[in-house]
């Protein structure tokens, strides 16, 4: 069924067709519509799930960790301050190996208060042990929720599907809502191996001495490494059933490209347009979009970037005291390669400042004149 959906409702439908069983959330701009629609679906019986209204995001995530520990499929959505407030529980969800799936609407942090898009909220949760998927349109938002359950439950890792505030959350697009039978074929019910079960009691989360703790962390890392393959497998299976193709990365006009623009989220879709316009002017430029950020597809990135002349990483985020965060990760991934391009890092669009295709063309034209990066940050669109 095709429907005109805002990004927020694409998340709700994603959770619905995935048959989420327990949903818990606290309202925050710009996430509210996600849970309003889910709540309505629960009340009408359209979605057979329990909706737990809580007093804070910390409690929302705690409730889902509890529910997931019993072995049911769980969902929540939040944004910025809400995600930061969940932080303690994000570590818990990953450590407890509860495959909670959530939507996070990328919004800039306070102070000063902002409701507009920026990636620092999700990127500052980089090391919590959550998988992170950055979507570029509303169809991908919906499809990524379904795939997130598939991968998360196969490895007992939580997953975050991320979309840009307002640019996607409140923008409507035509979205194909997959039929329930097809989704059921792709996504079987969740079976948890170790769960809270009165017939087979276990204790969870107890004090673990240095003799045992280390290995549990190793296992999370191993699961993350395995997740790289799982995302690709899930992408292939998804394509065979639904006809839409997704991978860890997306490339556009890279085969003959001398330079690549590397970005994520909606800036990457704007960059695609910029690539087309630059190609019309004869520029050999392509695009690499990072879709799955955790686990980080370093090997795939190396395979694509090692043969190009220049890489331009565009970040709508900043690691204060260092540089753009995607830039840091990509540079680190390339460091041990013998053949590697100079990598330029651009920070732009913070606090939701608009980044147009014209801006990206200017970024490209500026970088292409430079021999090598003289600093770790090229600022674009900064008004001083």
């Amino acid at each position: 069924m095709r429907k005109v959906l805002m990004g927020n409702h694409a998340l709700s439908y994603g959770a619905k067709v995935s048959r989420a069983q327990v949903i818990s959330a606290y309202p925050i701009t710009p996430q509210t519509e996600v849970v309003e629609l889910l709540s309505k679906m629960c009340a009408s019986g359209e979605l057979k799930a329990k909706f737990i209204k809580v007093e804070s995001e910390h409690s929302a995530m705690a409730a889902l960790i509890g529910a997931s520990s019993v072995g049911v499929r769980t969902f929540t959505a939040t944004s910025a301050q809400g995600l930061a407030h969940m932080h303690e529980m994000l570590h818990w969800a990953a450590g407890a190996r509860t495959p909670v799936v959530m939507g996070n609407i990328n919004r800039a942090f306070a102070p000063p208060w902002s409701v507009w898009t920026e990636q620092n909220d999700s990127l500052s949760q980089r090391d919590t042990g959550w998988m992170q998927i950055y979507a570029q349109n509303n169809q991908e938002v919906l499809d990524s929720v379904i795939q997130a359950y598939k991968v998360a439950e196969s490895l007992d890792l939580p997953a975050m599907v991320i979309l840009a505030a307002f640019v996607l959350s409140h923008t409507s697009e035509t979205v194909e809502i997959p039929g329930q039978e097809k989704v059921d074929e792709f996504l079987p019910p969740y079976e948890r191996k170790y769960k809270i079960d009165p017939d087979e009691p276990h204790a969870f989360g107890g004090l673990t001495d240095p003799d045992n703790y280390f290995e549990l962390r190793y296992k999370i890392q191993k699961a993350m490494e395995e997740a790289l393959e799982k995302w690709e497998e899930a992408g292939e299976e998804f394509e065979s059933i639904f006809g839409r193709k997704y991978g860890l990365l997306e490339t556009y006009k890279v085969s003959d490209a001398k330079s690549l623009i590397v970005s994520s989220s909606t800036i990457a879709s704007t960059a695609r347009n910029a690539v087309d316009r630059l190609r019309e002017k004869g520029e050999k430029v392509g695009l690499l979009r990072i879709r799955v950020f955790r686990p980080f597809p370093a090997e795939k990135i190396r395979g694509i970037l090692s043969s190009v002349g220049k890489a331009i990483v565009i970040d709508r985020n900043i690691g204060f005291g260092a540089s753009g965060i995607f830039y840091q990760e990509i540079k680190a991934a390339m460091y041990n390669e013998e053949q590697k391009p100079p990598i330029f890092g651009v920070v732009t669009g913070l606090g939701g400042r608009d980044v147009s295709s014209k801006d990206i063309i200017e970024i490209y034209q500026d970088v292409i004149r430079r021999e090598e990066p003289k600093s770790d940050i090229i600022w674009k669109g900064l008004k001083l």
Binding site: T32, S39, K53, E55
Partner: protein, 287 residues
């Protein structure tokens, strides 16, 4: 002092026409002007919500912090400079939901601050979900089957914890509410004003008519020092009493108990660091 002293001039106020928050803004300005409190002496501390926007429309010192977290910075602001008048202001979701734990501990700590809670029984900023004070059965887009939880009773909680000043007011009653707020500001210690007001856009149940029909004022003979009576009044839910419910004169303000103020009443920021004294202290710990 003229109430216009607190005006911000021509600014865009982001409340709906008819919102109870407009009355609260006016009442608060009148109360402060009658108490002759200069904007420079006043600190408004808020979090997030429609109610928490009120300090944005005030010419005063403003600290806009996190959702639910205005009481801890308000407590600290007063603790470092007792010459300031400190008001923590926000809504029912901000103060009783996300910030519920701070509400309990502010009462226990008893800082000399005024806590004004715009209570419209709904989340206005996120466009109409049930708040901790929404009535049972109240329907919203997130509670389409109606609220199933018992509403939070801030007055009963405050009185049970022995809060030093507990009151409830209603935004449309200008004179009465102004007097309650003046008493709360003058009170030495933590003072709660649970300020009922209509949300004309999202709360169609608790509208102006509902508040008129479902509230009444405590009579002149009412004794606010009687804790049991205050608790009984706070538990009334058929018609909500308005006025000063409880004053606990036994409870000492937090600042008075701080060692830093035992011998010297000067605010911390005005004091010089006594390095000699500090040196002696550090040396004494070395042995």
């Amino acid at each position: 002092m003229d109430a216009k002293t607190y005006d911000m001039g021509k600014i865009d106020i982001a409340w709906c026409p008819g919102c109870g928050n407009f009355s609260i803004l006016k009442i608060l300005k009148d109360a402060l002007s009658e108490l002759d409190i200069a904007p420079s002496e006043l600190v408004m501390v808020c979090g997030i919500g429609q109610g928490a926007k009120a300090p944005h429309y005030f010419k005063a010192n403003v600290f806009n912090g996190l959702h639910g977290r205005s009481l801890p910075p308000a407590t600290a602001i007063k603790a470092v400079n007792q010459s300031l008048v400190v008001i923590a202001e926000g809504g029912d979701g901000d103060m009783y939901g996300e910030g519920g734990n701070h509400f309990l501990h502010a009462i226990r700590r008893n800082p000399d601050i005024t806590h004004i809670v715009h209570n419209n029984m709904i989340y206005g900023l996120t466009k109409g979900q049930a708040s901790p004070t929404s009535l049972e059965g109240f329907k919203t887009p997130v509670q389409p089957g109606g609220v199933i939880l018992e509403p939070f009773n801030p007055l009963a909680v405050a009185i049970s914890l022995g809060a030093s000043f507990v009151s409830r007011a209603y935004s449309d009653d200008f004179e009465e509410t102004k007097e309650i707020i003046k008493k709360a500001i003058k009170h030495k210690g933590y003072a709660l004003v649970d300020l009922l007001h209509p949300c004309v856009t999202y709360n169609k149940l608790n509208d102006r008519k509902w508040f008129k029909e479902n509230t009444y004022y405590l009579d002149d003979n009412y004794d606010p020092t009687d804790r049991n009576e205050a608790f009984k009044k706070a538990m009334e839910d058929e018609k909500l009493p308005l006025g000063v419910f409880y004053i606990n004169k036994e409870k000492k303000p937090f600042e008075e108990q701080l060692p830093a103020y035992k011998k010297n009443k000067k605010p911390l920021y005005e004091r010089e660091v006594d390095f000699e004294k500090m040196k002696v202290l550090i040396e004494s710990k070395k042995s």
